[in-house]
């Protein structure tokens, strides 16, 4: 079986599993968690394109998520725009913003890039909080309408689940395609040796900005969907903590693995439910997890999983060999 066929089958199995889950897991609580996993997967996949492929960090991605949510929220409440149009405007505006700030920001490397994106995230967080007349400030923005397709309104858990996950699946599929193309290779080449990539004719500066833009657009779509499914948004969801959580999802799942991003998103979305007993000390668990992962499984859970199966496979093969 070729690698490409394996990839297609894997995606089909994943899609079927996603479609089938609501038949086994019921109850509004579970469905809500699953919707959040979908939104976070979208965000993690978007950030992974930037971090895992192009090798450029962003500590401000929650801002793009928030901006998408607020543009959609404000346009549909204050200006009574159609939610789908608002989603398109949010995506376009985020893309435009990322493109414009991408050129100066992505000239920076390593720690400096981390600081610049961190600054961007904090600025946007302040904007969400302080422009009370537009965003409602710290008390949030409520009454955001649900999305709908003619008479089908996405206003219950089941509808939301299928809405969010169809967009998430499309995002994953497009990202997988992208990662296996000349663009994906060029991005990984930039991450491994930018100077050699440039000598091979890869326009690193432009490509980094392009993928930053794509990543911001995905975040905006996720933000807009979030606003329309929750119908209420407040700045607290889009702060620095959430940016770090997104980075953690990508790293725990595996840099440069789309399914890894799903895994990371799933784990980090569910963890607070289990860590509730620890109250505010849950952050210690995140920290420990990040330390352990970077020390012992730098490739993330996905590559750790492959290592383990490879190890077991090797053992079995080895045993077979000695008997033969």
């Amino acid at each position: 079986m070729t690698k490409e066929k394996r990839e297609i089958i894997m995606f089909l199995i994943f899609t079927l599993a996603v479609l089938a889950v609501p038949f086994f897991l019921q109850g509004s609580y579970f469905m809500n968690v699953l919707v959040f996993i979908g939104i976070n997967t979208m965000l993690a996949v978007g950030l992974n394109l930037l971090m895992g492929y192009a090798g450029q960090i962003s500590l401000g991605h929650a801002a793009f998520f928030g901006l998408g949510a607020y543009i959609s929220g404000v346009l549909t409440t204050t200006y009574e725009l159609n939610p789908w149009s608002a989603l398109a405007v949010a995506a376009g505006a985020n893309g435009g913003l990322a493109f414009v700030i991408g050129f100066p920001i992505l000239k920076l490397r390593g720690h400096f890039l981390a600081m610049a994106t961190l600054g961007f995230g904090i600025i946007m967080f302040i904007v969400f909080n302080e422009t009370v007349a537009v965003t409602g400030g710290p008390s949030g923005l409520s009454g955001i309408p649900n999305l709908h397709i003619s008479s089908l309104v996405f206003d219950n858990d089941m509808h939301n689940y299928y809405l969010i996950w169809s967009v998430t699946l499309v995002t994953m599929l497009l990202s997988i395609n992208l990662s296996q193309s000349r663009i994906g290779r060029a991005l990984r080449a930039i991450a491994d040796s930018e100077v050699a990539a440039r000598v091979m004719g890869v326009n690193a500066r432009v490509l980094k900005v392009q993928i930053f833009t794509v990543s911001a657009v995905i975040s905006a779509v996720a933000g807009s969907l979030y606003a329309h499914t929750m119908t209420f948004i407040s700045p607290a969801s889009f702060g620095f903590n959430f940016s770090v959580e997104l980075v953690t999802m990508v790293i725990i799942g595996g840099l440069g693995s789309i399914y890894g991003s799903f895994l990371g998103a799933a784990i980090l979305t569910m963890m607070p439910e289990f860590l509730r007993v620890l109250q505010d000390f849950d952050i210690i668990v995140y920290g420990l997890l990040l330390i352990i992962m970077t020390m012992y499984m730098p490739g993330g859970l996905i590559s750790g999983f492959n290592q383990i199966t490879g190890f077991i496979g090797g053992k079995i093969k080895g045993r077979g060999g000695s008997h033969a």
Binding site: L174, L178, S181, R188, V195, V199, G201, A204, I211
Partner: protein, 250 residues
Amino acid sequence: MLKLNGITKVFGGLTALEDVSLEVQKGSITGVIGPNGAGKTTLFNIVTGLYTQTSGTVYLGEKNISFFAAESLAPLGLVRTFQNVELFGRMTVLENVMVGLHTKSSSGIISCAFKLPWQIREEKQIRENALHWLEFTGLADEAGITADNLPFGKGRLLEIARTLAVEPQLILMDEPAAGLNSLETAELAKLIRKIRESGITIVLVEHDMELVMDVCDSIIVLNLGKLLAVGTPREIQENPAVIAAYLGDA
């Protein structure tokens, strides 16, 4: 083919290159030699757009490429290899060469994400071409190996395979034999000749004098940032100024 006029490069107070003018003939193998610190790698970095010269001009054929960025030179057929082997370490050998075909393909983010029909065709073409260059350099068996796991000698070959995929007119090789054993160096000499036979001009910086004298048609000697001598291998070997530069003034 390649023409440098009065290239000077000053780093702070240090003059790395001073008024260097030279010309590389089309279809030739030209060696650039000189003691450490002579400015050889600086010269390469200027030609390939990684540094900007303080003054002087660089022509590729008729084209003034003095201020071209590195990424805009590959489409014009100018590529290089690196002294410290700059591979894409986490990618496979095949994928490394496929990056070399970046300028030979044009699908953008949208067509790649949606796998549009022409993108699928182009991708297949890229793969086939890349395999061809792996065979040309004798790396076909290693196609699936991650570049970081490649033995050093094969890494050097892979860098050359990757530049060939660009289908260049001119390759600059920065110490291609450094770190190779004598057997590998002999293979390299064969490969360099084979590349020249396919019509590609080669300039190489090299410390391995045996290799330089063996494959080069013409040799350029730099010393302390200045052009010291130009000539055939025999002329250079007998040039008293060159001997003095290498062995120290008597």
